[in-house]
């Protein structure tokens, strides 16, 4: 049996972390906006951002490739500024982020909606700016939901296959994530090795989810 390939694992973790960070940065504000503010088209927007889940990942990846590749203005611009996304690990992260965005978004929105708005209101009478209140009251109170969403996002990003494959290619050592590696092994009928890698992936994922869980327990 071949020696175990560690590079896909590191790459996967890197991709999943970056993707989760991206989702976090975009998803939390959007979720808050849709939970707490009213504006026309709000529900449609909410449904639209959940779309990446509905499309088959490969197809999603295909559209992303077209959007980010050098056929598009955006892609060419990214190329020019020296920050190309397609066929890079960063691209894999972007693809995974788009694919798993709804997971955080939806759970965070539900969590925000469940908070008693009077708690935020009373915080405002205490004279603190809204951003401060968001950090100190809203976010901590929505923490459970957000953490659940984060765990889902991270897991999904770790496991993303279709979108990553299209956008990042499957370049061994560069963009071949764990998911792609496992897929290749299974396809190549190297079941034993695949099982071994799945096992390692499982251990890594379970221990990360467990850590998150215990951290949540601790802050509670």
């Amino acid at each position: 049996m071949a020696a175990f390939e560690w590079s896909p694992l590191w790459l996967s973790l890197r991709v999943a972390l970056l993707a989760t960070a991206l989702v976090l940065a975009a998803g939390i504000p959007l979720a808050w906006l849709l939970a707490r503010r009213n504006f026309p088209g709000k529900d449609v927007l909410g449904a639209v951002v959940s779309l990446p889940l509905v499309l088959p990942p490969t197809v999603l990846g295909y559209y992303l490739l077209i959007l980010l590749g050098n056929q598009s203005v955006l892609g060419r611009w990214l190329n020019r500024v020296g920050f190309p996304l397609v066929f890079t690990w960063r691209g894999a992260a972007v693809a995974a982020a788009v694919a798993s965005f709804p997971l955080l978004f939806e759970t965070a929105r539900a969590a925000f909606e469940s908070i008693d708005p009077r708690l935020e209101a009373i915080a405002r009478t205490l004279g603190r700016p809204n951003l401060f209140i968001f950090w100190r009251i809203t976010l901590p109170l929505a923490w459970r939901g957000i953490l659940a969403g984060l765990a889902l996002t991270f897991a999904r990003a770790l496991g993303d296959f279709g979108a990553t494959l299209m956008v990042a290619g499957n370049i061994p050592g560069r963009t071949q994530t764990m998911s792609l590696y496992i897929y290749d092994l299974v396809q190549a009928n190297r079941q034993n090795q695949a099982n071994q890698v799945v096992l390692i992936m499982t251990i890594v994922a379970v221990s990360m989810l467990l850590t998150a869980r215990l951290a949540r327990r601790a802050v509670k």
Partner: protein, 362 residues
């Protein structure tokens, strides 16, 4: 000075209120569901009136016509809500320190420790709200607001869950605050004694309307309506016909009795409402100085109640001199030691005198 004019549609009635609360303590008094809390919420900026204007010390906080609606942060109003609403994920110390801005960590710590000492919870810094008793939560909510030095205080039944001695201590704190800060304080309470003790003015609300506004003595001794008289502990409500009236007195025919009451703006023959304060009806000692007293009537005690400190006696007047039909005519309240001294336990027939000051006409 808080000037308030607001209208807000509620489920069962419209809140429709105009009120000027000067510096000092204004007690909001009224039955459950009268709109007291909603009024405070509007002032704090947590509820939005449908129409009206709220001005604090000349600054417009809200004006429906001019489309002004300051955010709660920019109203600088301290608000202690009826159900406390501590931040459940923060410790007591973090809760209290929440509104403290531009202070060093050490300063904050001092302020919090000081506040906790004052509310009798020194050493509770690291508790979570869920680990506090009801009264402890209430005090923390109070402290959380007080440390922010607001320009106005809104206190919604802030002592309802406290025992007498803790409450008395906090009363002293509130009075000290009033003296030190010189800001308007709106204070909701159901406890008339508390309102009287603390308030410079009492505002009586019912079903969203302001019924009366004035110093405690006025509201208690000169209620302008039966509702207010009831709310402020009045009893003995009757209807009477004006027999005569002069600048000196009003004479009323109540049932079979003529009563002399204080002067009032009434017309002859008009039917008016009146109440007789139960604690102002005097039993006449048999060994006391003789001579007929004002509004003297005679009867026997048919029932009595006590809360340990006071007795409530139910007096049925002799036939031919009844104030009303029914089991009894007059409710009389007297201290337990008077009850004992007069030997009321053994002697049920009494003459009583209704001082004219005890009678309110509205």
């Amino acid at each position: 000075m808080l000037e308030l004019r607001l209208r807000k549609r509620l489920k069962n009635f419209d809140l429709n209120l105009a009120l000027s609360a000067p510096k000092g303590i204004t007690a909001l008094f009224g039955p459950s569901g009268a709109g007291k809390s909603m009024t405070l919420a509007c002032v704090a900026g947590l509820a939005q009136p449908d129409a009206g204007r709220i001005v604090l010390n000349g600054e417009v906080l809200f004006d429906a016509d001019r489309n002004i609606n300051r955010s709660p942060q920019r109203r600088w109003v301290g608000y202690v809500m009826q159900d406390y609403l501590l931040f459940p994920h923060m410790t007591v110390a973090q809760n209290i320190a929440f509104g403290l801005t531009r202070r060093s960590r050490a300063e904050k710590k001092d302020i919090v420790a000081d506040a906790l000492r004052r509310i009798g919870l020194a050493g509770f810094e690291r508790r979570l709200p869920a680990e506090l008793s009801g009264g402890q939560q209430q005090r923390v909510a109070l402290a959380r607001t007080l440390v922010t030095n607001p320009r106005m205080l809104l206190l919604d039944e802030p002592f309802s869950a406290l025992d007498e001695s803790t409450r008395a201590r906090l009363h002293r704190d509130v009075l000290r605050l009033r003296a030190e800060l010189d800001i308007p304080i709106l204070f909701v309470t159901h406890n008339l004694a508390e309102a009287y003790r603390l308030a410079d003015n009492i505002a009586v609300l019912e079903a969203g309307h302001l019924l009366q506004f004035g110093p405690p003595e006025t509201v208690i001794y000169h209620p302008t309506s039966r509702t207010i008289a009831k709310l402020t502990g009045g009893s003995n409500f009757f209807k009477g016909r004006v027999v005569a009236h002069s600048p000196a007195e009003t004479v009323l025919q109540v049932g079979q009795v003529q009563l002399v009451a204080p002067p009032a703006p009434v017309r002859a023959e008009a039917v008016v409402g009146l109440s007789i304060r139960a604690e102002r009806v005097m039993l006449i000692r048999k060994d006391g100085p003789g001579g007929r007293r004002e509004n003297q009537v005679q009867g026997h005690i048919v029932n009595e109640l006590t809360d340990g400190f006071n007795y409530t006696l139910f007096l049925r007047l002799d036939d031919g001199r009844r104030l009303q039909k029914g089991g009894y005519d007059l409710e009389i309240k007297l201290p337990a030691y008077v009850y004992e001294r007069l030997g009321i336990a053994h002697e049920k027939r009494w003459a009583v005198t209704i001082k004219r000051r005890a009678i309110h006409i509205f």
